[in-house]
Subunit: 548 residues, 2 copies
C-alpha cells in the first residue's frame, strides 16, 4: 500500500518542499486574537487597549454573564484616601484609576469572556512596593487580583467585582544568569519570549513554551503552572523552578530565591505557590533552570487513520526518538476543517486523514537527529502506522507546521460560541472521550442536525502529556447544551482518573468543579492552606477553591 | 603536550582495555558497608541483624553521643495494652516487640552513628493498617518514626528515644504500569532496585539512582527527596513524582495517586511531602514518571589539572553531549588516595591527576553516542582541558568505573572518624570551599602536622548539581576540630547562597543548623505547616525543624 524505506522519505521531503511559507488567515481574523508565537510580541493588553472603547460596550461583566456571584461584604470599598496612600507607594505614574477606558484592558481577559469592575490598577516596580501594597490591603481588607500578562483562559487574572488589580508588568528586570549551570533569576513580570530571546544569545532557552509567549509573564506562568509545548521534554515547572520570591498577603516577603539544583533543607514551600493562581501570595521573583538551546530542530507532520495509530506512533517515538523528542502533538480532522474554515492554508498533504501528529525533535547534532527521525518515519510508514508524512526543510517550514497546530485556538475564536475544555487522562482514553461526547450531544438532540446548536466537536492536544483540548463549537451558548456537557464531561473525566484542568487552571471557570478531580479531604486541606496564608481572604477571591 | 584527535582517543581506548574487571577491596572491609550498587541486593538491615549482638555493645545511643536531647514528656510511654491493640491491627507477625537483638537493626542507622531505644516495630501491609496505627498513636500521643530501607545518612529514620518504628517493608507491591506513558504506581515500601529491574523488562527505568538502591525504598526516596546520580538528566522528584498516597498523623488517608502528567486543580499538596522526612505524613503509595531505558550507555573517566578545568569540561559537556549526558561526577586526588588506602584497585591511568571526572552518556543510538562522546573527548584533550582519559569498553568496565566513584563512602567508613558534609552551592565555588576548609583547619592547628587529629580533607560529588560531598577524616572526634568546622562551614555555605544539606536531608544531624539555609520567615512558615498537619507532633519528633 505504501512505498517503504527511503522511497517513502523522499516522498515526504518532496511533499515538504511544496509547503507554503505561511498560512494566510482570512481578513476578518483580527490581530488581537493571534496566538503570539506567530510574531506579535507586544504585550496583549496593550493592543487590547487600542480597541477598548469599542469593546467595553459589548463585553458583559462576569457577574452578569455568570449569575450567582455575591460580593464579599467583608471587603472594604476603595476610597480616595486609599488611592492617595497607594500613590505614596507607586507614584502618580504607577497606577491607573477611575478611567474606564484605561481600566478596560485590565478588567477584561483576552478572550473577552470575563470582565470585572475594578477602579484601580497598581503597577509596582519593586518587591518592597508589592509588600507595602499588600500589607495595606490586608490591614484595610481591600481585595486584590494579582495580574501578569493577562493571557489566562479561565478568568483567573481579572477581577470579578471591584478588586484592586496588582499588575506586575513594571517588574521586568533580569536579575542574573549563571552560564555554567544555566540558572536564570528574574523579576516575575518578565515576558516569557523576552527571556527566551535573551537566553538565546547565551545558547540557552526557557524550559517552557506556549502560544502566549509574547505576552505572558514568567511569574504568571509559574502562578498557573503553565504546561505548554515543551513539557514532554523539559518537565513541569515543579521540577525546573528552583526558587521563588513571594510576597504573602500580609506583606511578608518570603525570600526563597535559591539558585541550587539540590537543596533538602525543610519543606519545599515554593512548590505551594506554583499553580496557586495568586490566591496565597504574589510571586515577585523567579529562579529557574534553563536547558541548552538545541542546535538542531526538526518538525514532521504525519497523517494517520486512527487514534490507535496515534498511540502507536507516540509509543514508538519514545523509543526511537527518545532523548531528542521535544513535542508530540495531535489533532483530528475536525480541527483541521475548523482551521480551514477561517484561514486559507496551502495544502501540506494531498489527501486528508482522520488524525494528524506533529513531531518535533531537538538535539545537539543535526546529522544524528535527521538519521533518527528518518528511520522512525520510515518505520511508521512501513508498518502502516502513518499514511503520509512531511518533514519541514527549513526554519520557515517549521514555523508553518507549528502555526497550523497553534491556529486552532484562533480559528475557534471566530466561531459564534465555543465551550472550551482542557482535560488530562490516560493517553488511551483521550479520543474515547471525544467520540463519547459527540454521541452524547447527538443523543441529547443538540448536535448532528442542520438546525442543531452545536456545529462541531474539535479535538487537539499534547499526546505526550495526556492532555486534550476539547472544543465544542456552537451557533450560540444555550442552557440545554451546557447542561448536556456539564457535569457529564467532568463525570466522565473523573471516572477515568483524569483532571478537569490539565494546564489552564481553575480560575472562576472551574473552581466549583474541583470536586471532580480532588477528594473532599484534599479540598479541605487546600482550604486550610489558604486560611493560614491568607486569613482575610484578600487574594484573588471568588476563584480557585469551591465556595462551599 | 598531548597527542590530539583520533590518536588521543586510541590512547584512551587502549587504556580502557587494561582496566581490571573489579576493584578488590581489602579484607577488613565488611559487607555491611558496601554501597549496594555493587551487587548486595538484600535489605541492609537484614544483614545488619546478623551481627546485632556484637554491635549493640559498641554503638552508642544518640542521646548519649549527642547530649542535649530531652524526651518530650507529652508523649505517652508504650504499654502492654498498646501492643495488644497494635497486634489487632497488624497481627502477631506484623510487629517486633521487646527483643533487643531483633530491635537493634531498626533502632540503628547503617553507619552505626545513630541509635534509638524503641521497644516496638510495626510492619503494616496495607494503607488502612497504616491509617489505623497512626489514628491510635495520635489519640494516645505515642510518637512514631516512619522507616523505609533505613539507608539515610542523617539519622532521620531511627528513633531518638522510645518512638514506635513504623517500618514500610511489608508494603512492597507494584500497583500498576502504563506502558504508553511510562507511569508506574507502587507501594511505598518497594525497593528502588527491585522497581528498576522490573521496569527494565518493559524497557523503562527509574528516574533516580543511588548507591543504596538495593535497600532503599521508593517511599523513603521521596520522603527524603533523594537526588543521586541521575538528577542531572531526569530532574528532581518534585518533577517526576506525579502522585502520592499519604497517611496523615490523625489517620486520614490523602489519596492523591494521580497518574497524570498535567493536573492543575488546586495547590499541589503532594509536593509538601516530598522531602518532608516523615514529619507530616507517611507516604504509602507512589505514582512516578519513568523514562525509557537507554539502549546505549557510555562511561568515560578523565584526569584533569584543576577544578577550573573540571568546570570547563562540564560546560562543554552540556553543549556537546547535551541530551545524552546522564552524569557528570568529580573527585579529587585525596578521594582517590583514600580509596587506595582501603582497597587495591588496579590502576586505570598511568599517572595521577589532581582531579577526576566521570562522565556518563545514555542515549538511544550507540553509534551516535559514541561519535558525540569521541568528539567531545578529543576536544577536551586537544584543548588541554583533560590530561588523560579512558572510556569503558563494556558493561563490566562501566561498573568498575562507577564502583570507583561509589567506593569513597565505603573507604571513608574505614577511617577512625569522619566529619561528613553534603552541601550545594554555585558550581564555581565548590572547590574553593574545600581549599578554604583545608587552610582553616591548618590555621586552627588540627591539620597538616603528623600529630594533627585531622588526617585528610576529601572531596567528591555531583558537579552537574553543584553538590559537594566534603569529608574530613580524623584519628578521632574531638571538640576543637568540631568547633573549627562548625559553624564555620555552614557560615561559608550560607555566605555563598549554598545549602547545608543538598540531598541527605536534615534528620537529627542538621536540623538545628537550618537557619544557615533558610530565613526565619521560611522556618516559621514551615513550623506552621507542621502544626497544621501534625498538631500533636507525634511524627518523627526531635528532627527536621530546629527545636527553638
Amino acid at each position: 500500500m505504501h512505498s517503504i524505506g527511503s522511497t517513502a522519505i523522499r516522498r515526504m521531503a518532496t511533499r515538504a518542499t511544496r509547503m507554503s511559507t505561511a498560512f494566510t488567515f482570512t481578513k476578518n481574523v483580527t490581530q488581537q486574537h493571534l496566538p503570539l508565537r506567530l510574531g506579535l510580541t507586544q504585550p496583549l493588553f496593550n493592543s487590547a487597549r487600542l480597541y477598548a472603547t469599542d469593546k467595553e460596550k459589548v463585553v458583559a461583566y462576569t457577574v452578569d454573564k455568570f449569575p450567582g456571584y455575591v460580593r464579599n461584604e467583608n471587603f472594604k470599598e476603595l476610597t480616595e484616601n486609599d488611592v492617595t496612600y497607594f500613590k505614596s507607594i507607586v507614584g502618580e505614574n504607577g497606577l491607573v484609576y477611575g478611567n474606564e477606558d484605561d481600566l478596560f484592558a485590565f478588567n477584561t481577559d483576552w478572550m473577552n469572556k470575563f470582565r470585572g469592575k475594578s477602579q484601580l490598577v497598581l503597577k509596582p516596580k519593586t518587591t518592597q512596593q508589592v509588600s507595602d501594597i499588600l500589607k495595606y490591603c490586608n490591614e484595610q481588607k481591600l481585595a486584590v487580583v494579582p495580574q501578569g500578562g493577562n493571557t489566562g483562559l479561565v478568568g483567573g487574572s481579572v477581577p470579578v467585582f471591584d478588586e484592586v488589580v496588582l499588575n506586575l508588568q513594571g517588574m521586568n528586570k533580569i536579575r542574573g544568569f549563571d552560564s555554567v549551570s544555566g540558572i536564570l533569576t528574574a523579576d516575575a513580570g518578565c515576558v516569557l519570549e523576552v527571556l527566551d530571546n535573551w537566553l538565546a544569545e547565551k545558547g540557552y532557552m526557557m524550559p517552557l513554551d506556549l502560544g502566549a509567549k509574547g505576552s505572558c509573564h514568567i511569574g504568571g506562568n509559574i502562578a498557573t503552572n503553565a504546561g505548554g509545548l515543551r513539557l514532554l521534554r523539559y518537565g513541569s515547572l515543579h521540577g525546573t523552578v528552583l526558587g521563588l520570591e513571594v510576597v504573602l498577603p500580609d506583606g511578608t516577603i518570603l525570600d526563597n530565591m535559591s539558585t541550587l539544583r539540590k537543596d533538602n533543607t525543610g519543606y519545599d514551600l515554593k512548590q505551594l505557590f506554583i499553580g496557586s493562581e495568586g490566591t496565597i501570595g504574589v510571586i515577585t521573583g523567579v529562579s529557574i533552570l534553563t536547558p541548552h538551546r538545541s542546535k538542531a530542530v526538526n518538525v514532521a507532520l504525519l497523517g494517520l487513520e486512527s487514534f490507535e495509530d496515534v498511540q502507536k506512533a507516540f509509543k514508538q517515538s519514545r523509543i526511537e526518538l527518545s532523548e531528542i523528542l521535544s513535542a508530540f502533538e495531535f489533532w483530528d480532522i475536525n480541527a483541521l476543517h475548523m482551521f480551514k474554515k477561517h484561514a486559507t492554508p496551502k495544502e501540506v498533504m494531498q489527501s486528508e486523514y482522520p488524525f494528524y501528529v506533529l513531531i518535533e525533535t531537538s538535539g545537539s547534532n543535526k546529522d544524528h537527529d535527521d538519521e533518527k527521525l528518518t528511520t522512525y518515519l520510515e518505520n511508521m510508514m512501513e508498518e502502516g502506522v502513518a499514511q503520509d508524512g512531511v518533514v519541514a526543510q527549513d526554519e520557515s517550514q517549521i514555523k508553518n507546521l507549528w502555526s497550523l497546530r497553534e491556529g486552532f485556538t484562533e480559528a475557534l475564536g471566530k466561531e459564534p460560541a465555543v465551550y472550551k475544555y482542557d482535560i488530562s487522562m490516560p493517553v488511551p482514553k483521550i479520543y474515547e472521550c471525544v467520540e463519547d461526547m459527540r454521541q452524547h450531544l447527538k443523543d441529547g438532540g443538540v448536535f448532528g442536525q442542520e438546525d442543531s446548536p452545536v456545529t462541531d466537536v474539535v479535538a487537539y492536544g499534547h499526546v505526550g502529556d495526556g492532555n486534550l483540548h476539547l472544543n465544542i463549537a456552537a451557533k450560540r451558548l444555550d442552557k440545554k447544551t451546557s447542561s448536556l456537557i456539564e457535569p457529564y464531561l467532568f463525570e466522565w473525566v473523573s471516572k477515568h482518573q483524569g483532571s478537569i484542568s490539565a494546564e489552564h487552571g481553575l480560575g472562576v471557570a472551574k473552581n466549583e468543579f474541583l470536586g471532580y478531580s480532588k477528594s473532599p479531604v484534599m479540598i479541605q486541606l487546600m482550604k486550610s492552606m489558604k486560611n493560614i496564608l491568607d486569613p482575610n481572604g484578600i487574594l484573588n477571591p471568588y476563584k480557585y477553591l469551591p465556595s462551599s
